[in-house]
């Protein structure tokens, strides 16, 4: 009697080298946004910072200061609601609300869609408020010329040490709510020192939206000779 054996054919395993960048799709769209902005002579700034650091109020103060001399629009990124757009829209500048539907960062695709919704020839400046988060937006450029990180003394003395990545990618750091530094027991110069330990040449501006300290200096950095 003959026995026939059936052997399972072993699966063949292949190992293929790839070099696919996972951040490239966003980086490419960011570049497209930048080309579009450049073509219209528009400079965009991306404001990043924790929830409650004062990004919206700072943008409001900057709009107040600059709106008579420049065409300004504001992009407001939020996970859900549109509360933040009201105080800015009251100043009569176009506001584009970008809801990330609970996503943790704006990306270049969402900003690109926003750029299609406004009258670009009328603009000189776009201020983009990113989602209140100090970690996620760092890896997702939007096409802006500079990234501004807003950190406030009310977040405590360790904010820079806790979120170093955000500062490494920033071009300007605003230390906000300095009028509350004494009450909080936070030394502004220690926060400045921490930022410079990460990136020695970065510009750091201590500011207060309440007293107006530092606002003129920030406005001058965003729009020289305003």
């Amino acid at each position: 009697m003959t026995t026939s054996t059936i052997e399972a054919v072993p699966e063949e395993i292949y190992d293929i080298e790839l070099e696919h960048s996972l951040l490239e799709a966003n980086a490419r769209l960011a570049k497209e946004n930048r080309v579009l902005l450049d073509r219209h002579g528009i400079t965009a700034f991306d404001f990043m910072g924790a929830i409650g650091s004062g990004k919206t109020t700072l943008i409001c103060r900057l709009v107040e200061r600059l709106k008579d001399k420049f065409g300004i629009a504001v992009f407001n990124g939020d996970a859900t609601i549109a509360n933040d757009t009201e105080p800015i829209a009251r100043q009569g500048v176009p506001v584009v609300q970008i809801a990330t539907v609970n996503g943790c960062h704006l990306d270049a695709n969402l900003v690109g869609k926003g750029l299609k919704k406004i009258n670009l020839p009328a603009l000189d400046l776009i201020l983009i408020e990113n989602i209140g988060n100090l970690i996620c937006p760092a890896e997702f450029p939007l096409g802006s010329r500079s990234r501004v990180v807003v950190v406030s003394v009310t977040e405590g003395p360790w904010m820079v040490k806790k979120h170093p990545h955000m500062f490494l990618g920033a071009d300007l750091v605003v230390i906000n709510k300095i009028d509350l530094a004494d009450i909080m027991g936070v030394r502004v110069e220690h926060l400045v020192r921490d930022v410079h330990a990460l990136k020695p040449d970065i510009r750091v501006v201590p500011a207060s939206c309440k007293t107006g300290a530092g606002i003129a200096e920030i406005a001058e950095l965003l729009a020289p000779h305003a």
């Binding site: 699966e11 063949e12 395993i13 292949y14 190992d15 293929i16 080298e17 790839l18 070099e19 696919h20 960048s21 996972l22 951040l23 799709a25 996503g103 943790c104 960062h105 990306d107 970690i135 996620c136 760092a138 890896e139 997702f140 040490k161 170093p164 990545h165 490494l168 330990a197 990460l198 990136k199 020695p200 040449d201 970065i202």
Partner: protein
């Protein structure tokens, strides 16, 4: 949790590749992630497991290799590992030799290096 959008990008990329190759299942995906990125390996693995369920990538292994940071100084011409700060160690953009600002030449990568699959 930007790890979730990165996991979704891996799924999309590898799924397309595996289907074109006629794969029956994906065995392993190897990533290379730079030290300057803030992509968290454990979170990324968790997100990867979640998004790959019921796909060709289900139960595949995600291997993450960290690419060390390298910086270059335009002031003193230093090129090499960055200066680290604090504990846990954070790479900075301060030159370890002269203290000026440096440029990151490696460490921002986030890429799929290889895919192992069965056919």
């Amino acid at each position: 949790m930007h790890e979730l959008s990165i996991a979704a990008t891996i799924l999309e990329d590898v799924l397309g590749f595996a289907e074109r190759q006629g794969a029956t299942r994906v065995v392993r995906v190897r990533l290379s992630i730079g030290e300057f990125t803030c992509v968290q390996a454990d979170q990324l693995k968790f997100c990867y497991e979640s998004v790959t369920t019921d796909t060709l990538l289900a139960n595949s292994q995600l291997e993450i290799e960290t690419l060390p940071a390298i910086v270059a100084c335009h002031s003193c011409r230093y090129e090499g590992p960055p200066k680290y700060w604090m504990d846990p160690l954070v790479p900075t953009l301060q030159c370890p030799m002269c203290g000026e600002s440096v440029e990151a030449v490696q460490g921002h990568e986030c890429a799929i290096k290889s895919v192992q699959y069965a056919a």
